[in-house]
């Protein structure tokens, strides 16, 4: 099949746009998890929070026809679960790995149960329309690639510099990083470990709820296990990104873009059907390879998963 130059460009543009879209929910969830982990708390339940946020948003939009309410409900659900998780993790010092998986199971089952009980047969909702940004949207090539996305994409990528700023240039961010490294020292300097971790966990889970809400709205539907283990990949990407918002963004983009490229190759028959399973491995393998290549020397927050007890 003869591909004209402009057709090839069109396909590349479509692929990159697709990669950005696919990366968005990973990015949101991953940013939240990164924040929590920076403060020293691991949350394996991200996927469960995403699912509950997704259902909440979906149901809200079905009832109210307002997408923004949906997003808000998703965030609210995340915040609520965040409070609960912070309580059992910080006050009750529950083992973080276990409680996380418990929340995942609960979210997975509860979201589906509520869906079956209150919705029954799936009804579609309309997603956000792509934003029309004056001048930028109309640009050739770059326009479709970067400037014709829905508002959720811009919120997600916009959060990256915001979180970077907060983490590296505010006292609050400094506190978070300090208690993640050495809570005793931070405590002795007057930083409230409890309060800071509480806030980090709550915000982090709020972002996970937002990620789920964004997913449901963008896909225009809810389904059992809508996230399909996205939350766990988001957790993995936190490690890829070395707990920095920028790193997490790159990780999400790598994963999303590889998925998009594989899709295009399959669409054009470059990847034969017999190899389609092998092709589905690509995002995972390439993410590992990317990290090997970069081979940064990084350290995880030293206090990660260790509960802090005042006075030892």
């Amino acid at each position: 099949m003869m591909m004209s130059d402009s057709f090839a460009v069109m396909i590349i543009v479509a692929t990159i746009a697709s990669g950005i879209r696919l990366a968005t929910p990973f990015l949101l969830a991953s940013l939240g998890e990164a924040l929590g982990q920076r403060s020293g708390v691991l949350n394996l339940g991200v996927d469960g929070v995403m699912l509950l946020g997704a259902f909440g948003a979906y149901y809200t939009v079905l009832q109210s026809n307002n997408l923004y309410y949906g997003l808000l409900v998703g965030i609210a659900i995340g915040l609520l679960i965040g409070v609960f998780y912070a309580f059992i993790t910080l006050n009750l010092q529950a083992e973080q790995g276990v409680s996380g998986i418990g929340i995942y199971l609960f979210g997975l089952g509860m979201s589906d149960l509520l869906f079956q009980k209150f919705v029954g047969t799936p009804r579609p909702i309309l997603p956000f329309m792509p934003l029309d940004i004056p001048v930028l949207s109309g640009l050739p090539v770059v326009g479709e690639m970067l400037f014709q996305h829905s508002i959720i994409v811009y919120i997600a990528f916009g959060l990256v510099p915001v979180m970077s700023f907060v983490l590296y240039r505010t006292t609050y961010g400094l506190n978070i990083r300090a208690i993640g490294e050495n809570p005793e020292a931070a405590d002795s300097l007057g930083v409230s470990v409890m309060a800071t971790r509480y806030s980090a966990i709550i915000i982090g889970n709020g972002l996970a709820g937002l990620a789920g809400a964004a997913l449901a709205i963008e896909l225009g539907i809810f389904q059992q296990n809508l996230t399909n283990a996205m939350g766990f990949i988001a957790i993995a990407l936190v490690y890829f990104g070395a707990w920095s918002p920028k790193g997490v963004m790159i990780g999400s983009l790598v994963f999303g873009l590889v998925q998009a490229i594989v899709l295009q190759c399959k669409t054009f028959g470059v990847i034969p059907r017999s190899a389609s399973d092998l092709a589905a491995m690509a995002p995972a393998i390439i993410t590992i390879l990317a990290l090997v290549v970069v081979a940064k020397r990084f350290k995880q927050p030293s206090a990660l998963t260790k509960p802090y007890v005042r006075g030892g």
């Binding site: 998986i101 609960f106 589905a280």
Partner: protein, 380 residues
């Protein structure tokens, strides 16, 4: 309230015996389970089901009969094996989230052996396939271990990613080279192997029940892991690396080699679990549904819960796995009896896990209040 009562009594009697310790150790998580079940009862009622009869079925199915217990035992096998592997890994400070993928790779290699050598007698073939399972899982775990040790790639990242790779590889093999020839003939293309040789069937231990040799293997592995960790030099090195990598390096212990070994051991156990799942299964074939976890039933994941609830101790993992397995079996029976959506059962399982792990706090407080000596983590 119960915690207060117990702490009061313990204080009054100044009991220091392990008997009270164990009693408290059991009763507090039990209260947590009851609380979770109470919430579950509300959910059941809202769906029009009868919680009393439902829960009666649940307990009866899990532990109430020989048959039920044998179902629970079989369900617990992969949980115990993966859990024991996690104990080893976590003790070396390596977080292995790759149980799923390691089970798959172990199962694939074991199945390949059975397909390649169907005529070898049971006495030899069964150990061979179990060994193959261990090798397959160890290999997969070692990849993640080496990536961490020599390239500083977080094992959490690599194991999660390798899970995805393993499942897709399984889909590829089961739809392609390893598929049942009958499927090709019929054109249906179900991703499964042919019925594997009977020589590899795990022998049933109790007539008429489903409990098979896998139970013995799992118990054996748990004991072996305990011995490895506390009675061998290798185990010492693993624990040392986990406890203090700097001091270990200073003492001449190779951190990279031990990190890789830890993940290899952990993977090996998950691999054996995968093999046992295949050869102890009802269908005696390897089959997947194409889903993201394949045939494992999330054991690679739940095994982490089992290990952590057991305090990362291989021997305590045995009751932990049995209880978790019982919960899974009972919950499925509850679904059938009360005819509630499976989703409720999953949510209930999650609630139980969250509540039990949160109750640890009350257990510790009660033990302290009763001035009972706390068990050292590294004690046997």
């Amino acid at each position: 309230m119960t915690a207060l009562l117990i702490s009061f009594f313990s204080y009054r009697f100044h009991v220091k015996t392990t008997k009270t310790k164990s009693f408290i150790g059991l009763i507090i998580p039990l209260c947590a389970v009851l609380l979770a079940l109470a919430i579950g009862a509300i959910m059941l009622l809202s769906l029009g089901a009868n919680p009393i009869s439902g829960y009666a079925t649940m307990f009866g199915a899990a532990f109430g009969s020989v048959e039920g217990f044998s179902e629970t035992a079989v369900k617990s096998i992969p949980l115990l094996l993966v859990g024991v592997g996690i104990c080893i890994a976590f003790r070396a400070n390596v977080i292995n989230i790759g149980g799923e993928g390691q089970m798959v790779m172990g199962a694939l290699l074991a199945t390949a052996i059975a397909l390649a050598f169907p005529d070898i007698p049971s006495l030899l073939l069964i150990p061979m396939v179990l060994l193959a399972g261990a090798v397959g899982g160890a290999f997969w775990g070692a990849i993640a271990g080496a990536l961490k040790a020599y390239f500083n790639v977080s094992e959490i990242l690599s194991t999660i990613m390798l899970n995805i790779v393993a499942v897709q590889f399984m889909n590829f093999l089961l739809r392609g080279p390893m598929i049942d020839p009958a499927e090709i003939a019929r054109g249906t293309g179900i991703p499964q192997t042919m019925r594997l040789t009977e020589n590899a069937d795990l022998p049933i231990l109790i007539e008429g029940m489903r409990m098979h040799l896998g139970v013995v293997v799992a118990l054996f592995v748990a004991v072996a892991a305990y011995i490895l960790l506390w009675r061998t030099a290798m185990g010492f090195r693993l624990r040392s690396v986990g406890y203090n990598p700097h001091a270990s390096r200073y003492a001449g212990i190779s951190v990279p080699k031990n990190v890789t070994s830890a993940l290899a051991f952990s993977g090996a156990m998950a691999g054996i679990a995968g093999a046992i799942l295949v050869f102890g299964s009802e269908s005696h074939r390897m089959v997947t549904d194409g889903g993201s976890t394949g045939f494992t039933g999330s054991a690679g994941f739940n095994g982490i819960v089992v290990a952590l609830l057991a305090g990362l101790h291989p021997l305590w993992s045995i009751p932990s796995a049995l209880l978790f397995g019982g919960m899974l079996v009972g919950a499925n029976a509850l679904q059938r009896a009360a005819q509630v959506p499976s989703a409720l059962i999953i949510a209930l399982n999650g609630l139980i896990v969250v509540f039990v792990v949160s109750s640890e706090y009350f257990k510790q407080r009660t033990l302290q209040a009763g001035r009972v000596e706390q068990e050292e983590d590294d004690d046997e």
